[in-house]
Amino acid sequence: MSTTEHTTEEGRAGFLAIELDGAGWDGGDFASLAEAVLAAESAGFHAATFADAPVPGRTNALQRAAYAGPVTRSIALVPEVDTVHTEPFHVSTQLASLDYVSGGRAGWIATAAESSEAAAAVGRSSVTGAALAQEAAASIEVSRRLWDSWEDDAVIRDVATGRYIDVDKLHYADFETPADFAGAGYSVKGPSIIPRPLQGQLPVLAAASLVGEGQVPADGVDAVLVTAPTPELLAAEIRDVRRRLGASVAVIAELEVVLDSRGQAAVERLAGSGSAADGGRARYAGTAAGLADLLESLLVEADGVRLHPASLALELDELSRLVLPELRRRGALRAPVLDGTFRDLLGLTRPASRYADSSAAIAAGN
C-alpha cells in the first residue's frame, strides 16, 4: 500500500481482532499458543483476545496473553479479566505488568461474571443484575486510579539526593465503593506496586450491554464489543450503540466466522459440528470473498471487528491467505504498526496521569 492510499483511506480503515480461544481451541497445547498468536500476527490481525470463561482445561487468560508478549511485535494482547470475583488491586497490577511484558500492547476486556460457581469458589454470594455492572465499574475505577498513582516521571534515580523515586509523584488512590454499592463495599488505598504502565492507561473494553447509564459509565471504557443476532442487524446495532455512548467510545463488532475450507463448504462444516451461534452472536458462514465484502461494509460502521473462528487453524489459514490481503488491497485495514501500542491502534493519545499537576501528592505525616 502506498503512502498516499494509506492517507486517503485512513478515515475508514479499521482493525481486526481475533479471539484465540473459540470453539476450535483446545487450550491444552501450549506450543500452539505461541504458534497461534504468531500466525494471527503474521496474518495481519491487529489484536488477539483471550477468553477467561471457566472452561475445563483452560488456563488463565491474562497469563496466556503475558506468555504471548515477548514472542510478538505488533499484535495487541487483550485478555478477559473478571471484575466480580477478583481482587481489584491484583487485577490492576497484573494488567500493568502485561503492558510491560508486551511493550505497551496490552488491553483489558473487563467482564462481570454472573456465576454462582465463581462466587462459591471464593466464598461469596453470587452477584446478579445491576450489581454486576457496579462491580465492574468499581474494579475499572480502581485499576485506572492505580495506573495513574505513579506519575510518568516518578522514578528519578537522583544520586545527589539519594532518592530513587520522587515521592511527590506518587499518589494514594483512596478508592471507596459508592454508598449504593450492592455488594460488600471495599476500599483500596494505593499507590500501585508497579510504576505507571507503558501506555499510561491500558485501553479498557467491555460488552456494550455492560456500559451506559446506571452501568459502567461510558468514560470508564475505551471501546465496547457490540453483538447482534445476524450480520445484517450488526450495522444498525453499531449505530445505536454509538448514539447511546457517544463518539469517545470505539466500537468493535462481534462476528463468528465459518469459511469454506479445504474442499469443505462452510455450511457442511457447520452441520458437522452441530454448534449453535454463541449467545446470539452474528455468524458468517460462506466463502472468503463474501466475508471480505461483509467485513468491508462492517468496518465502515465500526472501528474494528473481532472474529470468532469456528476452528482457529482452519479459519486462520483462509483468513490469512484470502480475506486480510483482500481487505488490505481495498484499503479497509489499518497497517499494523511494528512496536506500536494498543492505544495507537485505537487512535487514543497517551493521557497524562489524573494526579499530575494536582497538589494531592501524599502529604508527609498523612
Binding site: 475445563p56 508478549g69 481482587e87 505488568s97
Partner: protein, 458 residues
Amino acid sequence: MTQHNRAKSDVFVPTGKLQFGVFFQGVNSGTIWKAAESGSQTDFESFRRIAQTAERGLFAAFFLGEGLRLREHLGRPHALDVVGRPDAQTMLAALASVTTNIGLVATQNTTYNDPADLAHRLASLDLISGGRAAWNIVTTDNAWTGANFRRGGYLDHADRYRHAEAFVETAKRIWDSWETAEGPARRVLHEGQHYTVDVTPRLPRSAQYRPVLFQAGDSPEGRDFAARQADVIFSAHPKFDAAVEFRKDLVARSLAAGRGANAVQIMPASEFILAPTAEEAAAKKEWVRGLQIGPQQAVAYLEQFWGRELSEYDPDGPLPEIDPVVEETSETRGSGFHGAKARQLADQWRAEAKDKGLSIRQFVTSRTARVDATFTGSYSAVADQLAEFARVGAVDGFNISPWLVPSGLDDIVNHLVPELQERGVYPTEYRGSTLRENLGLETPVRTADETAEAVRAS
C-alpha cells in the same frame, strides 16, 4: 527411585551437589541503582536478561517477590531504595516463553489471595511453563497491607500459620483433584474460620504434577509449617555453622511431621561478591556496600526505629543521642522492622556503635548489609567454600540476590559455576524439563485417603 528412597529415609543423606536460584528482588536496599551499569527494574529486558543468564548457568529457579503495598517511611512512600515491581505470575508467564528449563517461582501471600483463585493461577502458570512453576508461600497479617484489598485486615498475627496451612491444604486438594489426564475433577469443599471454598477445579495436572512449594518463614511455627508442607525452604542461614544447625533442626522437624529426613530442601538467601583475586573482591565489596547504603539510607534506617526525622544528624557522625518518639516500630517498612521495642534498641545500638567506634553509616551498613549472607572472595576460594557445604549437605543450594540488575549474575555464571562444576558439586546439564526433576524432588502423589487425613489434621 533413588530420589524416592532418599526422601523417605529416616537418616539425612547429602546429595553432594548444589543448585542455584536467583531472586530478582524488586524492592530492597540490596540492589544498587546508583551505578552506571544499574538497569531498569521494570523493563522486560532486565527480567529476560537475568532469567536467560541464570538458565545459561543451569540455575534451578528464578524467584520474584510479591508487592502488596509500597513500603512507607514516616508516612510517605520510602524514596531511597529500589521500588516498583511487576506482578510475579504475570512476569513469570512472560518469561516462560523465552526460557525452557529454569523454574519460575512466584512469592504469593496466603492472606490477600483467595485459595481457589490462587491455586488456579499457579496451576495455570505450571501448565503454561510446561511444569516449571513454584509457589513461595508467605503470610502477612497486618491491616496496613490489607488497606489495598477487599477484606482489609482480618487476620490475627497468632492465626497466620493456621490460616496459611488451611489455605495450602486447600490448594493441594485443588491440584490433586484432577484424577486422570482426562479428568473430570473432584469437587473441593472447605469451610473454615476465615474463608469458604466450593470449587470444581478446571485444570489437569502439569508435567510436574503440581507446582513446587517453597516457604520462607523462619520462626519455629514457620519452620514446622515448612516441614509439613513445603518442598524447599528459602532459609535465612547461609553461614556454614548456622546452616548445619538449621539442617539438623529442619531434619528433626521433618521427621516429626512424618516426612523423610531429606524431604525438605534448603536454599538460603545469599549474595556473592566475586573477583579473580581476594584483594579485588574486597575492593569490590567496599564499592558495593557504599552504594547499597548511602548517607540518606543510613539516616532513614534509624528514622524508621526512632519514628522521627533525623536529617540534622551527620551520617558520618555518632548515633543520635535523642530518644525514639515511638514505643514500637511499625510494619510499614516490611515485617522485618515490625514490633521492635524502640527505646531499648536505641540504647543498645548507641552503646554498640560507641564501643566499636562506628558512625551512623558504618553502623547501619553493619546491620543491613547481608553480613551473614555474603560470600566474598576469589572465584576459586568461594567455590572451595561452597564445595564444603555440598560435601556435608549443609544446604541444597543458594538463592542468590544479585546486587546489580541486569548484569549481576554474569560473574557467577561465567566464573563461579565452572569452578563448581570442576569440583563436581554443580550440575553440568538440566536433569529434565520440569522444576521438580531439576530439584530432584519426588512426585507428591497423594491418595484420596491421604488427602482426607491431611485435611483432618489441618
